[in-house]
């Protein structure tokens, strides 16, 4: 089983906030950006569902529309929420990485350890 199937996809809200941290974007540009850095393709229903949720909580805001679409940008509250979320994730990843590095020598492969 691939690790992608074992672990669920990252939360779309986190991906959207991370993308907007790089600068304001409209929906399609946001989708392409997320696809590039997270290898996750978000559909239009998910992207705008997330944006509506985040906008309601004041984490992102819509700018003046251009060419029939609104660019969105991160607000200060959004930046703060993203920072908190990322630091939590970082704690998990750094702990996991350091423990994995320390125990690499002691690990056996699955087949060798399996009962006969």
């Amino acid at each position: 089983m691939s690790s992608r199937r074992l672990f669920p996809k990252p939360d779309p809200s986190l991906l959207v906030l991370s993308s907007l941290a790089g600068g304001p974007k409209h929906g399609y540009a946001l989708m392409k950006d997320v696809e590039a850095f997270a290898r996750v393709t978000l559909g239009p229903g998910t992207v705008f569902g997330c944006l509506a949720r985040l906008e309601e909580r004041g984490l992102v805001e819509a700018l003046e529309p251009e060419d029939r679409r609104h660019p969105y940008r991160l607000t200060a509250a959004g930046a703060h929420a993203l920072e908190e979320q990322l630091s939590e994730l970082e704690r998990v990843t750094s702990t996991g990485s350091s423990r994995l590095g320390a125990s690499r020598g002691r690990l056996t492969d699955g087949a060798a350890g399996a009962p006969a």
Partner: protein, 375 residues
């Protein structure tokens, strides 16, 4: 947003390259296929007004980049369902909540029509006769059979209640004529509202025509089970059997159109400029309908469990006629096999109807509170 509620730009000035994406997506717009437009139309009106152009532009960019639309359309349909279930970002306006109340009333009542069709399909199989019914002339039933027969009676009463509620709803919508502007819009509104009546008149006309085309009674025959006569069948034949068959097909087609005309009434209700207080009756109707559908679902489960516990009955014998019918056991078996499907359908309808009623009540309360605070 800051604590004071003021939005702050932390990303610096907007740059055109950033906004349009890495490759830029400006230029002539691409045509969005019909099925994708239908998916967009599945969103509520307030959403379409706010995010509709953005989503449409998103789809145009997908088409322009020659990316497959199938996943995007599925995602839109799921997204629309989510927004309808939980209206995140809905503006706190009377109109938005009034529209949501109206849509919820439709979700609470219209699915009952499908329930009506399901129950009528079962009834057409003559379930009561297929297991002998509770008639003293029929063969004796087990406890399961009696439960099934009683549950079927309950289902038929529930169908009657659904019909009465739907007619009440129709009458309610009919009372909103003065909420539609005079002229073309009013005429369209009347056409939509009277569509079920037109279908009913055509149905009666076709029925009369069929009776005229096949007027001659040829004879009667009696179905006998275990030596007891349980059912008398009357056969009619006439001078124009082919024409009568054509009329029968037309009758079925108009019956389907009549069922679909409920959507015309929903459209009529949507086009009226209703006040919040106008929706009170509809909310109560949706609540009653949800209760009836819940009882129907429970009755259908009882019926299904009961009928599977009724031992098979012997095949019927027809006296005095060459006409044959299927064995009672065959009919019973086919109904027994299909009960989980029918019950699942009724349970699903009860869930949708219940959700619609709950949502209608909450939305109505929100709309009323907003209307009061606006005064």
């Amino acid at each position: 947003m800051t604590e004071s509620g003021e939005a702050t730009n932390v990303t610096g000035p907007v740059e055109a390259t950033n906004v349009t994406g890495p490759e830029g997506s400006r230029g002539p717009t691409a045509a969005v296929p019909l099925h994708a437009r239908c998916a967009l139309a599945a969103y509520p009106r307030w959403w379409r007004e706010r995010y509709g152009p953005d989503q449409e532009r998103f789809l145009e960019d997908l088409v322009k980049d020659r990316r497959p639309l199938r996943r995007a359309v599925t995602d839109l349909v799921v997204g629309a369902l989510r927004v309808r279930l939980r209206p995140v970002g809905m503006p706190q306006t009377v109109i938005a909540w009034r529209d949501r109340t109206r849509a919820s009333i439709a979700w609470g009542t219209v699915p009952a029509f499908a329930g009506l069709v399901l129950v009528s399909v079962i009834s057409q199989h003559s379930f009561r006769d297929s297991i002998g019914g509770t008639s003293p002339r029929g063969p004796s039933l087990s406890t399961g059979g009696r439960v099934a027969a009683d549950a079927m009676s309950g289902l038929q009463w529930a169908s009657l209640a659904v019909l009465v509620l739907l007619l009440t709803g129709w009458a309610l919508v009919g009372g909103f004529a003065d909420r539609v502007p005079k002229g073309r819009a009013r005429r369209r509104w009347w056409r939509l509202t009277l569509a079920p009546l037109a279908a009913a008149v055509v149905e009666i006309g076709l029925q009369l025509l069929r009776n005229v085309l096949m007027p001659v009674v040829k004879g009667t025959t009696t179905a006998v089970v275990h030596g007891r006569p349980i059912m008398t069948l009357t056969y009619v034949s006439g001078r124009h059997p082919l024409a009568a068959s054509v009329v029968s097909i037309a009758w079925d087609a108009v019956a389907v159109a009549g069922l679909l005309s409920v959507f015309a009434v929903v459209l009529a209700a949507r086009s009226a400029d209703l006040r919040v207080s106008d929706l009170r009756g509809g909310v109560r109707l949706a609540q009653l309908m949800a209760i009836v559908m819940l009882l129907s679902a429970l009755a259908s489960i009882a019926w299904g469990i009961g009928v599977t516990h009724q031992p098979s009955l012997p095949p019927a014998v027809l006296n005095g006629s060459a006409v044959t019918i299927r064995g009672w056991t065959g009919i019973q078996t086919s109904i027994s096999a299909s009960w989980p499907l029918v019950s699942t359908g009724l349970v699903a309808i009860a869930i949708v109807s219940g959700w619609g009623a709950l949502s209608a009540r909450r939305s109505y309360q929100a709309a009323r509170a907003l209307a009061l605070s606006a005064k």
